[in-house]
């Protein structure tokens, strides 16, 4: 099951004693601050987790996969995520869905 905002808020409520409203708001503004920083063109570095960077992509030729028609993919700015050492190490230890 995927982890969602509702579950994140539930844990803040249980573990930190924020009330439900505060916990829900906190999760919301946490992600909003990260979005706002990226929107403003800044990098976001969360040590122990990873870095969110921005990349500027030039226009390149693309194709409508359905019709085969050639259409340019316009220049754009995109977000990339680079996991930090700690996150990488902890995920690497995961042995896959078949083992317990």
């Amino acid at each position: 099951m995927a982890l969602t905002k509702a579950e994140l808020a539930e844990r803040l409520f249980q573990d930190l004693g924020l009330n439900k409203r505060e916990a829900k708001d906190f999760v919301e503004i946490f992600f909003e601050e990260i979005r706002a920083a990226l929107e403003a063109g800044g990098q976001v570095k969360l040590s122990g987790f990873g870095n969110f960077n921005l990349r500027t992509k030039r226009q390149r030729p693309g194709r409508n996969p359905k019709t085969g028609e050639e259409i340019p993919i316009t220049a754009r700015r995109v977000v990339t995520f680079h996991p930090g050492q700690k996150l990488k190490a902890r995920v690497e230890a995961y042995s896959g869905p078949n083992e317990t």
């Binding site: 995927a2 982890l3 946490f30 992600f31 601050e33 700015r77 995109v78 995520f81 902890r90």
Partner: protein, 94 residues
């Protein structure tokens, strides 16, 4: 923006919460994200994006110093896919 700057900003906006609580909440949130991924779960944040694991199959690596071949086992790496809202906002502000 670093983690401490993020905590600073959130503390300013949530001035009914003591700074310590904001700091703890940010760390608790990040720890939850890490734990979910470390146990093989996805993370889906509507409007922000999703984190999932991608599998890297086993391969032969090489010790760059000695040149000897070293077998590397398969592993999982974290992957982030930005959500629609984040994608649009990042691309619209030039």
């Amino acid at each position: 923006m670093t983690k401490s700057e993020l905590i600073e900003k959130l503390a300013q906006k949530q001035n009914h919460l003591p700074y310590k609580d904001v700091e703890f909440a940010v760390k608790a949130l990040l720890e939850q994200l890490v734990q979910a991924l470390a146990s093989g779960d996805r993370v889906e944040i509507r409007g922000f994006g999703s984190f999932s694991l991608h599998y890297r199959p086993p391969r032969m690596g090489r010790n760059p110093k000695t040149g000897t071949a070293v077998p590397l086992s398969g592993k999982y790496v974290p992957h982030f896919k930005p959500g629609k809202d984040l994608r649009e906002r990042v691309n619209s502000s030039e």
